[in-house]
């Protein structure tokens, strides 16, 4: 019991300090002006007002929030973080998570006073006004002076709006403080914290003044006032979703902050290029599936249209770029791997094999397996994305003339052969020339050979795995061309290996 008494005494002591009184007085003067404005407005429109008009308007006024509450909250938050973050406290608490929770508690000790003064002033201004538990006729009217029209339609009683406003403030303040303390705890840089605070303030002003209503969920002021909140969202659930999302993000971050995640992130680094590649592929498939109609097209269509590619007769920039990303991206990844095998590991590995061919096959077979796996992965991904986008799960293709089996043959067999051909060509170039720039030159010349009109007979073995080729060419004809080209390249490599090697 004496403990609680002590806390209450400390709290009251804090409450009557000069700075809070100064804040209260400044709110008082602004609130008086606001009250005068509202009362005049109600006289002009000949409608009566009650206590809630004044009190809710003062609590939801954007100017108080923007130029008064947000700076003060940022000040309270940063000072409490900077004062409290020291190694003695951290050692006593043990983890950063505990420190953040404690700092949140300390923050609330101060900012609750701000809310208290604010609410008190908003209630103090209602003296001499009629008390009622319902919306006044003025607040239900759609007038110029009245900001409460939208929420008066949502809530039965103004008391609910009042309670929810305070709940919203508590939630938003907490998220803001946790975010700031997370930033400081991870970076431990004072300047970054201050920059973030200034940026947040400027962002609030810009968001309030400049953003159109459609994008007002970007503006922080939306989450400080209940009237703006209901003004911004058609369905308030979305706003709750955003706030909950922010809380979940903060919570997950809070759980992870004491772990050594840097190590985990570093261990994913070798896979980063592949993940980026996969991400680009997925974006492409998604954008294709947006262009299809769900009740007409099937999941096979998503796949076929995505990997349609280009031929001499059919050319669109989107499918050209997508082919480039998928297949040339893949061979770029492989060429990075080959660059490692030849230039960096070559010295050490080649002497361990009896001849160059064994060394070649030691890593080349891995690339062959990876190629097949990537092709299967791309197909599966496009089926899954097609299914998620609501395409029909039928096993036929609507947009193409040729049969499904032939398309599968074209994608897997010819695709495999084509990618292998690219890789062999790149190997020959990087083995003989020893200049990594050659790979980029080679990929660029592949791109040129795929332009419309360059390859009308389908003889140049570049880009022949585009699914569009099944329309005019027999896939077996393409297989033949690719096989011959592959064999030529393979024997060229064998021939090169018999020459002296210059590492």
């Amino acid at each position: 019991m004496p403990r609680i008494k002590f806390y209450i005494a400390r709290y009251l002591e804090e409450l009557i300090r000069f700075k809070w009184i100064a804040i209260g007085v400044s709110i008082y003067f602004y609130a008086r002006m606001l009250k005068k404005q509202i009362v005049e407005g109600s006289f002009q429109e000949h409608m009566s007002i009650n206590v809630w008009d004044i009190s809710l308007n003062i609590q939801n006024d954007s100017y108080i929030i923007l130029y008064f509450v947000i700076p003060i909250i940022l000040l309270i938050s940063t000072t409490s973080i900077l004062e409290d973050f020291n190694y003695q406290t951290l050692i006593r608490l043990g983890t950063i998570k505990k420190w953040i929770l404690r700092s949140l508690f300390k923050f609330w000790k101060k900012s609750s006073i701000l809310i208290l003064i604010w609410v008190f002033m908003s209630l103090y201004m209602t003296i001499k006004l009629p008390v009622s538990w319902n919306w006044s006729p003025f607040s239900k009217s759609n007038g110029v002076y009245n900001d409460l029209f939208e929420i008066s339609a949502v809530f039965d009683s103004p008391l609910w709006a009042f309670v929810l406003e305070i709940a919203l403030l508590i939630l938003t303040f907490s998220i803001l403080h946790i975010a700031l303390s997370l930033i400081y705890a991870t970076t431990k840089k004072k300047s970054l914290l201050l920059v973030f605070c200034v940026a947040f303030f400027i962002w609030s002003i810009a968001g309030f003044k400049l953003l159109p209503n459609k994008f007002s969920f970007f503006a922080p002021t939306t989450y400080f006032s209940i009237t703006q909140y209901f003004h911004a969202f058609d369905s308030p659930i979305m706003g709750v979703g955003i706030l909950l999302g922010a809380i979940t993000f903060c919570y997950i971050y809070l759980l992870l902050i004491d772990r050594n995640i840097k190590q985990h992130i570093l261990s994913t680094r070798p896979y980063l290029p592949f993940l980026l590649y996969l991400f680009l592929c997925v974006i492409g498939i998604i954008s294709t599936s947006f262009s299809l109609t769900s009740h007409k097209n099937t999941i096979l269509d998503t796949w076929v249209i995505s990997f349609r590619g280009v031929s001499s007769n059919f050319f669109t920039y989107s499918s050209f770029f997508y082919y480039m990303i998928v297949f040339f991206g893949l061979i770029y990844l492989f060429s990075m791997e080959m660059n490692k095998e030849i230039d960096r590991m070559g010295y050490y590995k080649i002497i361990r094999f009896r001849n160059l061919e064994k060394w070649f096959w030691s890593w080349f077979k891995k690339i062959l397996i990876k190629t097949m796996l990537v092709l299967i992965l791309l197909t599966t991904l496009s089926f899954i994305i097609g299914a998620i986008m609501g395409m029909k799960c039928n096993f036929y293709v609507t947009d193409f003339e040729s049969s499904v089996l032939l398309i599968f043959y074209q994608f897997f067999i010819n695709g495999f052969l084509q990618v292998v051909l690219y890789i062999l060509l790149i190997f020959i170039f990087s083995w003989t020339r020893r200049e990594s720039v050659q790979v980029l030159v080679l990929i660029s010349s592949f791109m040129i050979l795929m332009l419309p009109g360059v390859n009308p007979l389908g003889i140049i073995p570049v880009g022949l795995n585009s699914l569009i080729y099944t329309e005019n060419f027999s896939p077996f004809h393409i297989t033949l061309i690719l096989l011959i080209a592959n064999l030529i390249m393979y024997f060229t490599i064998k021939y090169i290996f018999t020459k002296n090697l210059k590492i």
Binding site: L280, S287, S318, F321, S335, N339, S436, L440, M447
Partner: protein
Amino acid sequence: MLIGQLCLEFKRAITTKNILTWLFIVFLLPLIAFYPIRQGYMFFSPVEVFQEILGGIIPLIFPVLAIIIYLPNFWIEQKNNFITYTRPRIPLGSYILSKGIVNAVFTGLIIFLMLLFSYVFVEFIEPNFLHFVQYYTPSKYNHSSKVTFSQFLRYGDLTYFLAYSLWVTLNAIVYTTISFMLMLIIRRTFIALSVPFLFYHIFNFIVGVFGVARFSPLSTVFPFNIQQQSLWTVMVPFTFLLLILLIIYFVVIRNKEEWMI
């Protein structure tokens, strides 16, 4: 010291292999691009032929052109640990700076000369000596379509050419400088060299996916595949590039001790 080093670098850059590459880029590339469009197209003025030449294969190889003009020379010096042995002779900072300047100058110059040759070819050589292209007179239904930068056409063909080719040159310089600076801080040269290439093609793809192709590097540097846009659109990817350049510059300056030399 820097001036002397610059002169030396200029002299050293002129080797037979480089000259051949540059001659190929300046003369043969525009001719190769001209070959498929010499007949069967409807042209009203030489400027359109010029635009068509630049709209064909050159946009696809542009980032590669930017990096093969001078950077392989620097790469060989890096690979053979040549730069270490220049340190007694000249401060490392001046040496790298002179390399950067020479790289930017040569890349810009060769790209500009390529455009200049295309322009001279379509304006003077082709109509006077070769006569491959048939010019039509514009009518009500057939008239030339406008592209970005043809805003300058009303000040004359030459002004248009100068404004446009300066723009392409500027882009080439930015791309090659990004690569050059990355070579100083990334151990794997292949990745450093391919960053402009990857940026160019991936950015093209991504803006295509989001349906804002007018901001793609391809359509801002070579704006012949889309209809005319206002001039500010070209600044969007360029600003992005400059931002990348600036960030890399600060990283390079701060890690002076860890340069790959």
